[in-house]
Symmetry: C2
Subunit: 293 residues, 2 copies
Amino acid sequence: MALDDDWFTEICAESGSAFSLRVKEKLHQEQTRFQRIEIYETERFGTLMVIDGFIMLSDYDNFFYHEMMSHPVLFTHPDPQQVVIIGGGDCGTLREVLKHPEVKRVVQVEIDERVTRLSEQYFPELCEANDDPRAELLFSDGIRWVREADPASVDIIIVDSTDPLGPAEGLFTAAFYRDCFRVLGADGLIVHQSESPLIHQQLIRDMRCAMERAGFPQQLTINFPQPVYPSGWWSATLAGKRGKPTRLRKRACQNKTFPTRYYNYAIHLAAMAIPEFWREGTTESAVVNPVTL
Amino acid sequence: MALDDDWFTEICAESGSAFSLRVKEKLHQEQTRFQRIEIYETERFGTLMVIDGFIMLSDYDNFFYHEMMSHPVLFTHPDPQQVVIIGGGDCGTLREVLKHPEVKRVVQVEIDERVTRLSEQYFPELCEANDDPRAELLFSDGIRWVREADPASVDIIIVDSTDPLGPAEGLFTAAFYRDCFRVLGADGLIVHQSESPLIHQQLIRDMRCAMERAGFPQQLTINFPQPVYPSGWWSATLAGKRGKPTRLRKRACQNKTFPTRYYNYAIHLAAMAIPEFWREGTTESAVVNPVTL
């Protein structure tokens, strides 16, 4: 069946697949200094943001991604006070991070201010914590920000970036991760969105390798559903200065003081399970045993 | 971006979304007594089978579904010897079930013989166990077969059906589950594919309710990725005559004697994790504690 003009379609060339949403209206489009942003009103997925032709988020299902980019790493760190978000201009990750009462300060470094301004306008729910006094929104180059930041000044770095094309390309390199390593404190953790566990296995391997070259001794890739992204299945890769980031503040997690829509303690453990096909050619165990604090 | 004629597209009307695969060639199409079957060669997902316009399976990613429809229920039953598959004409589930050495007999009751004949031709890997002497392939109405089967004669019933439209509609009813209950032995288990955990929440609730009305005291819905199905995320619902089907032969599972591509012990536990949004309006705990045997 052919799709008529009432659909927005994103083609994933590397998997020969495409995902489409039926749209009611194009609400906005602009070419910023960095990229082309489009906003649509869809029939069933609510508002949709598209950057350079790639779906960034929808009202309907962004909770998977934003919760899984924030809560697992936050409950893994023993005392997360200072958090930096690189990218994340839609502010959905920021909102989730600020739900944690231990967090004293979150610096968000988004290169394109227009992403945030459009999110404030079209995704107000995601921006409802932007006025939190603990939040500082910077609009500049995250790579440079990390390069110039004080050593051991940050507990967690969340790299909430677009795909490794265009402005985000430099975020997927050992040079960037090395700067992150330096900026993180002794218990420091980094998490970076790492694309589809099925389609982008080589990218995940390369990212883990780059993190290792940067000094992070071990990595952990977690997986979760994300319907609007290619394959409907997505991942984030964590690494810690002290080793495998499988320490988990179980009691705090089980008694979390805020609502979520996907994440909970059981989902955190589930996200660490390693499919058989990931283990091909490695010695990795299928079972990740969390260390609970 | 519009898709040209080189794509097969399935629209999911209830979610206003569509999934497309780039095709190289249409290999076959026919109208059987029951449904319209099409076979395509895709660019990156291998061979594709479509029934009445809905994607059934692709070479690339059918392993998720077939493994998750078989191994969790097989490792949950304490001694699975007699297995019945209702539907499952592509034989992928049958192949997985026959990997279990405890299984003495599998009866597959597929209503449309053409599905199996085309699978033998176009998906030979899935049919490689069809000649196993333990397998019996029947081509008839699964509802009637279960209605006429001897009481307490089966350990596991796997309902590997299409969506609840057309020939499969009667499989999603309390009347059918009641017949299954009667045919199952005291430790008997049923599993039925239960659509998308995100898009089809009402269907899952209705199915669980129908199973309960049929006599199964508790149900368990497991979830797993399935890129070619709507939302890329799928589920199966298990129910047991003895109660919550969370008993798990841990040692047998951890030492399974056959290869899989997705399933393992950690994945089995992960599939049981209950997302927060499933718990809205229920008293269900997020954590399912498996009982290991």
